[in-house]
Amino acid sequence: MTSTLPVAAPAGPGQSPGPGGRRPFGKSVLARVRPWMLLTPALLVLAVLLLWPLVRVALFSLQDYGLKEIVSGERNWIGFANFVEIFTSEQLWAVVLPNTVVFAVLSVACTVVFGTAVAVLLASLGRVWRTIVSSAIMAAWAMPAVTGTYVWVWIFDADRGVFNHVLQALGLQDAPVNWFTDRWSFYAIVLLNVVHHGFPFVAITVLAGLLGVPKELLEAAEIDGAGAWRRFFAVIVPQLKQIFAVVIILSTIWDFKIFAQVYLMPGGAGSNRDVLNLGVWSYTESFGQNRYGFGSAIAVLLTLLLLGITVVYVRTILKEEEL
């Protein structure tokens, strides 16, 4: 692919018209500058508000940065002491990391499998029912994380929640149970919340892909005697590889950094140390304990973890096709 050079280094006038001839005006300077004119505003915003803060959070993580330093602006370098403290902390290995990683893997798996199943169901429905069901799915998608979390908290509320109420009415338990104190039941509720909120994106995106699979392919497979499962895995899945890659990337990225869904649950804002995940730990250490340096170090770890995952996925995408 011929690449026209950016403004700073104008290409030799002799070479550009030929190879650049894909575009009718490939020879003009304007055409070469245009992509950068279009990109500049967005890149500026990203640089100032996302990249520069990322650099700063890395710098903070190497300092003993507290309220005093925020006010005075002075630096208090302590090297990797924050990281040493994190990695030697029992909290990280026993609680925080499992709560983050195991939970993310589980929720991505549940979200993608369930979402795909729903997409297949939707694709097999008639027009009317498809509209009804996909409207309902949209409603679940539209539910904000904050209000969604509050509704789940209310449903599972210890004293008056409908879940305890129904269990008692059915005679399955004698007294109300507080589902938020135990780590496993706490995260089971978070999982329910995250899957409920996350599967619509998967379902709608995969459905769009399913409807785009050429009917001829499926008919040919059917004539060749392939059953429904075989048709799904041998014809549809390869066709939708790209869509699945995107859906899995985005779900992973979203599920690794869930915050409100944990923070807003009873005990989730730091008072129950058993349910901390990386994000909430970082936030409560920073804004609760005023240990901004230590919190930044945790945030850096979370970022590196996500970066690692993203790099793996990006490579997979790049192998599949040109961006």
């Binding site: 690449s3 990109l39 967005a42 996302l50 009804i132 008056r160 936030y283």
Partner: protein, 301 residues
Amino acid sequence: MSTATGTDRRPVRTSTAGGTAARRRGSRRPSAGVRVGKGVAVALLLLFTLFPAYWMLVSALDGNAGRGSSFVPAEPTLEHFEFVLTDGGFDVFLRNSLLVALTTVLISSLLALLASVAVARFRFKLRTQVLMLVLVVQMVPLEALVIPLFVQVRNLELLGTLTGLIVVYVALALPFGIWMLRGFVAAVPVELEEAAYLDGATWGRMFRSILLPLVAPGLVATSIFGFITAWNEFVFAMTLLGGETQNYTVAIGLRSFFGQHSNDWGAIMAASTVITVPVMVFFILVQRRLASGLTSGAVKG
């Protein structure tokens, strides 16, 4: 491009046994067992999908909410809504959120559109790197940004203001917007653009008359995402607005109904309904365009 994209209702050329109605669904007429199974699946799915929203509404309308649990309002009343929208302060929170979300959408959609045209339509040096950057910044966790941005906004003396929040939200909505719009722009066949050039159109004219109308569904989708991002965002609102109650957005306004020992669940659910319903209605109304925007091509067979 073949005619196979979308839910086409064109008669299938090689129509074998089975009427067109059955062919349309791409399979034979399903057996009774399959149909019952499908019906049960749909019912369970609807139950799972809608129950939280239903329960929110029931609790919001029930004067008895928090004392008994019944599946229909025991004492139907609007008192929770009245309380929330007057003494609860949600009239102010709603106005703040609307202002923040609309401004965010306007700015971020414009920036995202320009950038996505650049990456989808031009081959230039560093293009792949720019795309990588956009993809990678999407995965940055908010918790990593909230500390430095808090310090930055504090230094600019914008803590507690809506301006600080809007600036941050534009940045948050932008990467996903670019990523999404890029697909929509790329889906517009280059042939259409080239036809416009052959007819003597300049790049600007082509952008206005060809690209913009065809990307419009994508813009709608991107705007929705931007709006929802800003409307729902919680961490930055909580951190940057601090104690400035009069500037609270709806997402953090909710927290005022939580008591030390008991929560006013009727009011919380009424406020949640007020926050959720507009977004939900909006979402459902545009879903057709959203779905068709994701699948449709511009070249009709």
